[in-house]
Amino acid sequence: MTPLPQTLDQHYDAALRKLKPHHTILMDEGNPISFQEFQLSVRRQVAALKLAGVIPGQMVGYSVPNGLAAFTLPLAISRIGAACLPMYVLVPDEFRCAAFAQARATFVVVPGESADNFRQIAAAKGMTFSVLTSEELLQADPEELPPAISVPDQPFLFATSSGTTGQPKPVFMTQRNVASALSAAYDLSSYGPWRTDSDYRAMIAFPQSTSGIMILLGTAFLGVCQVFTRSLSPARFLEIAHAVDAEAFSAPPAWLEALLSIPVNATNRVPSLRGVAAGMDFVSPSLLQRLGVRFPAMDSVANGYGLVETATVFMIWKGDGKESFAGPTGRLTLCEGLGNEIRVVTETGEDVAIGEEGELWTKGPSVITSYLGNTQGFQDGWFRTGDYVVRESDTTVELRGRRKYLIKRGGKSVSPLVVQEAVDRSPGILRSAVVGIPHALYGEMVWAFAVAQPGAEPSTASVMKSVRAELPSHMVPDRVEFVETIPLGKGVGKVDREALIAQGKALLEKLGVQG
């Protein structure tokens, strides 16, 4: 068995050996980009960065729109032996400048139209980075690709994690961490409908998110043609997917939910879709079953699990066949071949038996070994994920949710995911979210916020009847609140729990039963 690449450069070198120059590696708004063009972009950016004075070990921040330049830039930075901090273009300029300065970026790459403003902010705030434009990087004369100099333990990708405490913590992924994340794409691409040729087109949402970069580069280097749009519109996403006959989507659950809200027409049906790779959040059976109806040929799904501290995906659930969409969707298995390990432990750090619950700990090539200047959350080389799981084997667990989201009701822990799945299965329910509402008597009450299917009229009675047949009494919701929509947070659109908790508190106050 060939050893997996240990650096991003090794991944790229493997792709250079494998892929033909005319191979379509990406499609930008439906327009094909050959691997030859991709290589040329890397070589131009390497030349321009070196000409600007970037040297090994320096930090290069960048913030450019979805496009070829954005996807080749991390490869060029890696080839020089430098490190990078990618940031979304939608973040305000002042905030991006502050983040680049905090990460001690020596150079920052932004589109030409933003460059002057970045320079002015930097000058006014005493920031010392130099501003380069993404356009000038692509105008440089290409030079031969230099030999790789990055080593596996070298810090490479700077990111921020909310971690287990909710406090943002800076994370520096090493080359090994990033290489491991790209290798996770091997596992993703080795089952179901995924094929590694450019006739196989996968549509990717948020290609510049940390996990998006890993999936895009990892699968593209295997030969999958990754298709993206510069727009952040779900409607546009579907139109492009339809036009290129996309066979797979890579997107977080909230994005998939948004796709389902778009009325079907002749230009967005995407009858070719066969598989979905989700991630960044729990994917519910309700969502998968509705996707299966919307896209009749869809018969497989993968949900990647990971955190910034694990360089995104290191465990995965694979569902093969529409019957698998009914779940359980939180059954996660370590990605094959990466060399990561897991433990499921009690609060005192002892391993639990098979079938028992505990916190998921992990270590291995995907996992960082500390935060910058802070080892909180790490113990004896293991990273404590803060997620509660049931141990099924040495490599498989059943996800119960974030430790901080577990509902403490009268001294018993309730997994909101388990309750949510049961509520979602109730007749007439489109989707739901379950949170703990603080209450003096209960500790926390179990509240389900549910959205009805169009035309259906579910009631508290119908949900309770269904849920009571599945769950023990302490897990049955204390209240089912019907809402028009589930509020979503910023970013990839995870459920806005704080908004739901505020809604619950307000209702308790109105009823005069705060406890």
Partner: protein, 84 residues
């Protein structure tokens, strides 16, 4: 709009909260043994009834409630405290 508190209305609302048919519930139906409501579930049911009838039962009386009939009687005693 609050409902008038009657035994039938109370029974129907309890059944609704539990996802049961009203015919499955009588005054002697035991909350813990037959309906499998845990101690905190009584308060959740109580909240559902407050919303329906606007009648609150003091916490001190809840411990003496064992059947659906007990629950109705306790609410009936306190309905006078509710503003029309």
């Amino acid at each position: 709009m609050k409902q008038n508190l009657t035994w039938e209305a109370c029974r129907d609302r309890v059944a609704g909260f539990l996802g049961m048919e009203p015919s499955q519930i009588s005054r002697t139906t035991h909350l813990f043994n037959e309906l499998c409501i845990d101690s905190l579930g009584i308060f959740s049911l109580g909240m559902h009834l407050i919303e329906g009838f606007g009648v609150q039962v003091p916490l001190s009386e809840v411990s003496s409630i064992a059947t659906v009939g007990d629950l109705y009687d306790a609410m009936d005693r306190h309905r006078a405290a509710v503003a029309p």
